[in-house]
Amino acid sequence: MTNAFTASEMMTVVAARALKSSDVCFVGIGAPSAACNLARLTHAPDITLIYESGTIATRPTVLPLSIGDGELCETALTTVSVPEMFRYWLQGGRITVGFLSGAQVDRFGNLNTTVVGAYDKPKVRLPGGGGAPEIASSCQEIFITMAMSQRAFVERLPFVTSFGHGKGRGDREALGLTTRGPTRMMTDLCVLEPDPETKEFVVVSLHPGVTQEAARAACGWPLRLSPAVTETPPPSNEELRVLRELQARTTKAHAGDA
């Protein structure tokens, strides 16, 4: 086993590390799903993973392509209806962590997955919010994972699909939101956390081999670094082995489902 790893693997591993075995986690599809299942298969075996299709405490052996693949239901403790999922479990305040991704994010952790350009005359029509607007407001805290680029990490969002910290500290409280909002962002280059004073996301650790300049160049706003910035510990051999096996099983399974 070589210690070499890709930026994408580093992102998934560092995102997985943010989760605890005691978490009840509402899982977004894509990058969050890989991170959440890697956590479950490594350091957080008792984590409760919930997908919006209604599956509670699911333990899939491969990553689902959709949020409603049959394996999520077959390996779940129980499966509830979608209204029950959103009313009792999410709105009911039972979820400790919501794990989201998006097409675009701003410095305050607000997300856009709706549209690029004007809503009525879009340049690019994106899928929309799905569960995210209420995941972002009802979970006790939000983790965000997505790859950094100038197109994705933008100065100003054309559309706010999911609310993070608005325009800064105090905006959530002003709306009557009692949850913490986005507390950590795991990217392919670095980990960011909100500055406690301003709620602007700042770099708290750079991944091995990533320079400050490289992180700044991939960000559409003037990226700031925490004075206490560190280097992210690289993926362990065990983390890489489990992740690669999971992805190999997944690719094989989906290719066979024609």
């Binding site: 599809i29 894509g30 919006e52 299709s53 209604g54 599956t55 689902p64 392509l65 959709s66 949020i67 409603g68 693949d69 049959g70 999520l72 239901c73 077959e74 499966t79 209806s81 979608v82 209204p83 999922m85 959103f86 009313r87 999410l90 709105q91 709706t114 809503y119 009525d120 879009p122 340049k123 690019v124 029509r125 994106l126 899928p127 929309g128 919010g129 799905g130 569960g131 995210a132 607007p133 209420e134 407001s137 009802s138 559309f159 706010v160 699909t161 999911s162 609310f163 608005g166 905006d171 959530r172 709306l175 009557g176 939101l177 399974a253 989906h254 290719a255 066979g256 489902d257 024609a258």
Partner: protein, 282 residues
């Protein structure tokens, strides 16, 4: 017993031009065969309601069946865009499509309000986001007890709900099992309900005392269409065809390729085309 009929008759009797139609199934049990029948019967000016339009509404929209879409997440799950939906919204092809866009929480609540015969749904949502600025159907009500501002959306009351289920017994009672989504709510919220099932059985063999069963008298018409959820799936019968969802990206990206696929696989076919996907008989 009279409610069992062919899929062609079920759609002809229950889906009319201009209707508000909700074909539900949250990734699981999506009524593809019924959607194809609606396309074959050339229904027009529909308002299509569905939390996740999925490939089925991509197909209906691309074939010009819809004037309006009520939805909350319009992508190809795990793959990317719904290209026909995008082409309609971005370029008005084959015709313009009006959008009424919500979040999942809003639509789930709105279906439940419809089933409960309430005029609107109330929930905690849409705080700080832009959707209420572009959708006038999203409003706010004040809690009469605490003064809290809560989100309100109108109840969903479709003219017809269309769902797929695992099985129906001889009397027409229908069982759903697995990821059950919002189908029970959609059926009970609608004026009429059309159900396709994998099979008709003597005994529903419900998996427990609290199984999701829709009594026969809540359903307008049932058609037996084995494999009728493909490329979605029917838990216990066949798996989701993830490979087809991936392949659809390429088919739907190009207008001519899409039309050719629809002609060969929908317009020139009937419900029996789905037989190939049903559970392999032991």
């Amino acid at each position: 017993m009279t409610q069992f009929c062919s899929l062609e008759d079920a759609i002809a009797r229950n889906v009319h031009d201009g209707d508000t139609v909700a074909m539900e199934g949250f990734t699981h049990l999506i009524p593809y065969a019924a959607g194809h029948e609606v396309i074959r019967q050339r229904r027009k000016h529909l308002t299509l309601v569905r939390m996740t339009p999925d490939l089925i509404y991509d197909q209906l929209i691309g074939m010009g069946a819809a004037d309006r879409l009520v939805f909350s997440w319009g992508g190809n799950p795990g793959v990317g865009s719904l290209h026909r939906l995008r082409d309609a919204v971005e370029n008005g092809w084959p015709q313009p499509l009006a959008l009424e866009e919500h979040s999942h929480a809003a639509m789930a609540n709105a279906y439940e309000a419809g089933a409960a015969n309430l005029p609107f749904a109330v929930f905690r949502g849409y705080k700080g986001v832009d959707l209420p600025n572009v959708n006038p159907q999203i409003r706010t009500v004040e809690c009469p007890f605490t003064g809290e501002a809560l989100a309100a959306v109108p109840a969903i009351r479709p003219d017809v709900a269309i769902i797929h289920a695992q099985r129906a017994d001889r009397a027409g009672n229908v069982l759903l099992d697995g990821i059950v989504g919002v189908q029970k709510q959609a059926v009970l919220a609608a004026k009429r309900a059309v159900v396709t099932v994998e099979e008709q059985v003597d005994d529903l063999a419900a998996p427990g005392y609290n199984a999701v069963i829709l009594p026969a008298w809540t359903i307008s018409a049932i058609a037996v269409v084995p494999g009728g959820a493909y490329p979605s799936y029917a838990q216990g019968y066949y798996k989701r065809a993830n490979g087809f969802y991936i392949a659809w990206d390429d088919i739907a990206r190009d207008r001519a390729k899409f039309q050719e696929w629809m002609t060969e696989n929908v317009l020139k076919q009937g419900p029996e085309a789905f037989l190939a996907h049903r559970r392999a008989v032991a």
